[in-house]
């Protein structure tokens, strides 16, 4: 039988969490398998090459490129300070020399006798990768990174902005007094003014049910054209759990988060909805939790009779129901499209046909 998979976000109360932490370039690994690390432990580090400056020696000395070697006062890999002489001509009787000076402090990384240029690199820029969540190192990826394992709750959102942060989970419904360094959970949909309010009070993360697209554009300063995010330099990472518009966070998501009120959590807004989907996430690690539920398997993602589903597109966007029937033949829906549908009984006992493509399975 053909399988009808639905897109599904991971909303898992107790699960095994594996995190790969990779450097952008090869470098050093600062830990070993079996090490217990905290979220801020630096697990790997490297250097990315500094900016490059080109010095056109042949123009300044009015010489041929091939003869550049005869005029150099430095060689490849030499360290130079700003205004150090890197090439000069002999002048007349030792006077009236034309000298070429280094525009920056750095290293001579290349001398080209074809183009007559000297390349000077700024000092390399150190890059460090932290563990992001508490856990145990289970694998070293040679010179590239590590994999760490932890137990805990994993909540994926549908879209987010902003990078990795760590902070205590607080809930707006509890009327908290202190927002500084915290992650605020709001069940409802919010807009830019609410985002600004909590961000202004020092919150490092916000998790909300919905958001509106215009507000997102206002926060970013541009319209988000393609959902590839995570590198925005905003003080408060945002994760939206359901979507755009006036939509509430699902009860299950909210309940799991609420169970961890006051605990330390990791949030990351990075989203990429193409070429290897990345969804934003909140992770609450529970190192001592042993009652790990089995992670969902592939079959859980197949729509079956009695599956609990949520509609993810108008006209029933956000509604939750139970699958009561799966007609095998395609059905002509209101848009006159022929689509494979499911008969859904909503919470008010109303039954409607909804395209299977517009359903999201709710993993219990």
């Amino acid at each position: 039988m053909s399988k009808s998979y639905t897109p599904g976000l991971k909303i898992l109360k107790n699960t095994k969490i594996l995190k790969e932490r990779r450097l952008p370039l090869k470098g050093d690994i600062n830990c070993k398998v079996g090490d217990k690390v905290g979220n801020s432990t630096i697990v790997a580090s490297t250097f990315i090459p500094g900016n490059i400056h080109m010095v056109n020696v042949i123009n300044q000395l009015n010489i041929d490129a091939q003869s550049i070697k005869d005029y150099l006062t430095v060689k490849i890999d030499d360290l130079v300070k700003k205004d150090d002489i890197i090439a000069e001509n002999k002048g007349m009787f030792g006077f009236f020399k034309t000298q070429v000076k280094s525009p920056i402090e750095g290293k001579v990384s290349n001398i080209s006798s074809t183009t007559g240029q000297i390349m000077i690199s700024e000092p390399d820029i150190p890059i460090e990768i932290d563990a992001y969540i508490d856990g145990e190192i289970i694998e070293i990826i040679d010179n590239e990174g590590i994999v760490l394992k932890s137990n805990g709750s994993l909540i994926q959102g549908i879209i987010g902005v902003g990078g990795e942060k760590n902070g205590e989970l607080i809930f707006l419904e509890d009327n908290p007094n202190e927002y500084e360094g915290k992650i605020v959970v709001i069940k409802e949909s919010i807009n830019k003014s609410q985002y600004d309010t909590y961000s202004g009070k020092g919150a490092i993360g916000i998790v909300a049910g919905g958001f509106d697209y215009q507000s997102l554009s206002d926060i970013l300063g541009y319209r988000l054209g393609v959902a590839i995010t995570g590198t925005e330099s905003i003080p408060t990472t945002l994760m939206v759990t359901e979507g755009f518009g006036d939509v509430q966070m699902s009860d299950k998501t909210y309940r799991i988060l609420k169970d961890h009120s006051g605990k330390k959590a990791s949030i990351n807004g990075a989203t990429q909805i193409r070429a290897g989907v990345i969804r934003p996430e909140v992770i609450i690690t529970l190192p001592n939790q042993s009652d790990i539920h089995q992670d969902f398997n592939e079959d859980d993602l197949i729509i079956k009779e009695n599956s609990k589903v949520r509609v993810i597109r108008d006209p029933y966007f956000g509604k939750i129901g139970i699958v009561k029937g799966l007609p095998s033949e395609p059905v002509k829906i209101d848009s006159e499209t022929k689509a494979r549908v499911a008969e859904i009984e909503f919470e008010n006992n109303e039954r409607k046909l909804v395209p299977r493509a517009n359903l999201e399975i709710i993993l219990e």
Partner: protein, 597 residues
């Protein structure tokens, strides 16, 4: 693979960024025909991260519909054994973001543009074009390469035997950037050098150690000669060896196929070229996908392809909104809609790209967005498909340019004979009339233009099939793929104010005479099937239908599944509909049977 004459069943898949589509072609009574089609979500992403799962699911759908057993324990049975298995299995792919390249050339409008044409013709997305004269500083270019992390780089520059310093300088940019591939840190990034042959040794010494360097014939051996084929072939080879091999599950998929996996746009381009070649006509083809929109054209035998990397119907749908703006989308809607509501709906499609419109209102919104995505993509195509400056090229049908005046667009709307649409929003439109009008509205044809659509979005599969069995590909293309929708007749008007008569038409069909007058801001659709019609068009003195202002035209035209459209809607100078009247828009849709409103 079995002998070509013994092939009776062909299975072809196209792994798109959203959906994997499978088709089964069978030889029945000496004719190849499409018999079944299946589709399933593409599975390159978590939790599956294996493209073959989606492929298998799409094949299972074919098995269910056809009753033919094709799989044996998650493996395709080839060759066929009576009623089991298939003789040939082939595939195209654009999943995982397709092939993403950077190209570099010495002069932006010359070698860099040639490199861009070669990369686009091979089916890649060109992320950036570096040139010695692009006004960016050395370190800015270095940073750009490091940030973008392309799958592959094509470096060109200089004519054979000419000055080498400029192209070596570009190689020094690459050397300083020391680029890393997007996938797999253990691999060196493939760099193709297709520049001045005198510089090959220098290029080799600079790039051999840090990249996987391949040297091919110069893309511009002489100023007046463009030679894209060697670069394009090398791109295809490296796409298979490096990019595909890194994507999840592709090693397995590559071991299943009987021909190399082709990038989807490359395969569609093959088919578009064959249509133009076979019928000796000018063609514009479009493939609108979830992430990108590809436009192909053949004018005077010259092929061009552009890809609008961030104009699509799902992943990049918000970019259509960002680039066109609310007003441009809303102008196609026959109802008022709150701006916030519209933008949230569009944004929700971006984050849940596999959903489909359930209500009529949702469908109309989606098709309005498609009009804008197509319009913007076609503008980009017209800007790129230009002639070279005073240069005569060596030409193959696919990539040569002939000498015309400098930098002039090759896209001549009056010369255009046929527009072919492909991609989910066009091929799967519930009514063919919708696909027809979407293409007319977005391409703004002039004069007399035929419109066709890929019946079920199978041009990619037929494109790759044409590389191993052209006869089967063309037979299925004519019989099952190309749906002739009809002809659109669009006037050029000098005076655009007020209401006035534009042209009259007269023809006979089935012993019945058809006569009418088209006024400004009016249109008429006549349901005439795909048969030759001797049509007489008599334009007013300020109206041109292709033969000059006020010049009568007598021409054989064809109807189709939709018919013949006489379109008197007046466009403004930018070629855009200026009607703000929702009732008028509703009337247009009702008269053309696009929607029943």
């Amino acid at each position: 693979m079995i002998n070509i004459n013994d092939i009776k069943t062909i299975l072809a898949t196209d792994c798109g960024s959203t959906t994997t589509k499978a088709i089964l072609i069978e030889k029945i009574e000496d004719h190849f025909m499409l018999t079944y089609r299946g589709e399933a979500p593409t599975t390159v992403e978590e939790p599956f991260e294996d493209v073959t799962r989606g492929v298998l699911n799409s094949i299972i759908e074919i098995e269910e519909l056809s009753g033919r057993k094709i799989l044996n324990k998650d493996k395709i049975t080839t060759p066929s054994n009576n009623d089991e298995g298939v003789d040939v299995y082939i595939s195209t792919s654009s999943a995982g973001g397709g092939l993403q390249m950077m190209v570099a050339g010495v002069v932006k409008s010359m070698t860099a543009e040639s490199a861009q044409r070669a990369a686009l013709g091979a089916g890649s997305i060109v992320m950036d074009v570096l040139a010695s004269n692009d006004k960016r500083l050395f370190h800015e270019k270095v940073k750009r390469i490091r940030d973008l992390r392309p799958d592959m780089i094509l470096l060109s520059g200089g004519v054979d035997g000419g000055t080498i310093s400029h192209v070596v300088k570009l190689a020094e940019v690459l050397e300083a950037a020391n680029p890393k591939p997007r996938l797999g840190l253990d691999f060196k990034i493939p760099v193709i050098y297709a520049g001045n042959n005198k510089a090959s040794d220098e290029i080799n010494s600079k790039l051999k150690g840090i990249t996987d360097l391949e040297i091919v014939d110069n893309i511009r051996p002489k100023l007046e000669q463009e030679n894209l084929e060697p670069s394009r072939n090398k791109i295809h080879d490296l796409f298979m060896e490096h990019v595909m091999a890194q994507a999840p599950g592709y090693q397995k998929l590559m071991s299943w196929t009987d021909a190399p996996i082709m990038p989807t746009p490359g395969a569609v381009g093959e088919i578009i070229k064959k249509i133009a070649e076979k019928n000796n006509i000018s063609v514009v083809g479009v493939d609108i996908g979830g992430a990108t929109t590809d436009v192909f054209s053949v004018f005077k035998g010259i092929f061009n392809r552009t890809v609008s990397a961030n104009l699509g119907m799902s992943y990049s749908i918000c970019n259509v909104l960002a680039e066109s703006g609310y007003d441009y989308i809303a102008r196609w809607l026959p109802f008022e809609i709150d701006q916030e509501d519209l933008t949230n709906r569009i944004a929700n499609k971006m984050i849940r790209p596999t959903t489909i419109p359930q209500s009529m209102e949702e469908l109309i919104v989606e098709q309005s967005l498609a009009r804008e995505a197509l319009r913007l993509s076609f503008i980009q195509h017209k800007q790129f498909a230009v002639s070279l400056k005073g240069v005569q090229q060596k030409r193959t049908i696919s990539d040569a340019f002939e000498q015309t005046s400098s930098g002039k667009t090759l896209v001549d709307m009056l010369e255009l004979d046929l527009i072919v649409g492909s991609g989910g929003v066009l091929s799967h439109a519930p009514r063919r009339h919708q696909a027809f009008l979407m293409m007319v509205d977005s391409f703004s044809p002039l004069g007399i233009t035929q419109i066709a659509v890929d019946s079920i979005f199978m041009m990619p599969q037929l494109g790759v099939l044409s590389s191993i069995h052209p006869e089967a590909a063309l037979e299925v293309f004519d019989r099952d793929c190309l749906v002739r929708l009809g002809t659109s007749i669009n006037p050029i008007i000098k005076n655009k104010s007020g209401e006035f008569e534009l042209f009259s038409y007269a023809f006979s069909y089935n012993n019945k005479d058809y006569n009418g007058v088209i006024k400004s801001n009016d249109l008429e659709l006549l349901e005439i099937p795909y048969e030759p019609i001797d049509l007489r068009l008599t334009p007013k003195s300020n109206v041109d239908l292709g033969s000059g202002f006020g010049q009568e035209i007598n021409k054989t035209v064809y109807g189709g599944e939709v018919g013949i459209l006489f379109d008197g809607r007046i466009n403004n100078i930018k070629g855009q509909s200026i009607s703000q009247d929702k009732n008028k828009i509703k009337e247009y849709y009702n008269k053309t049977k696009v929607y029943s409103l």
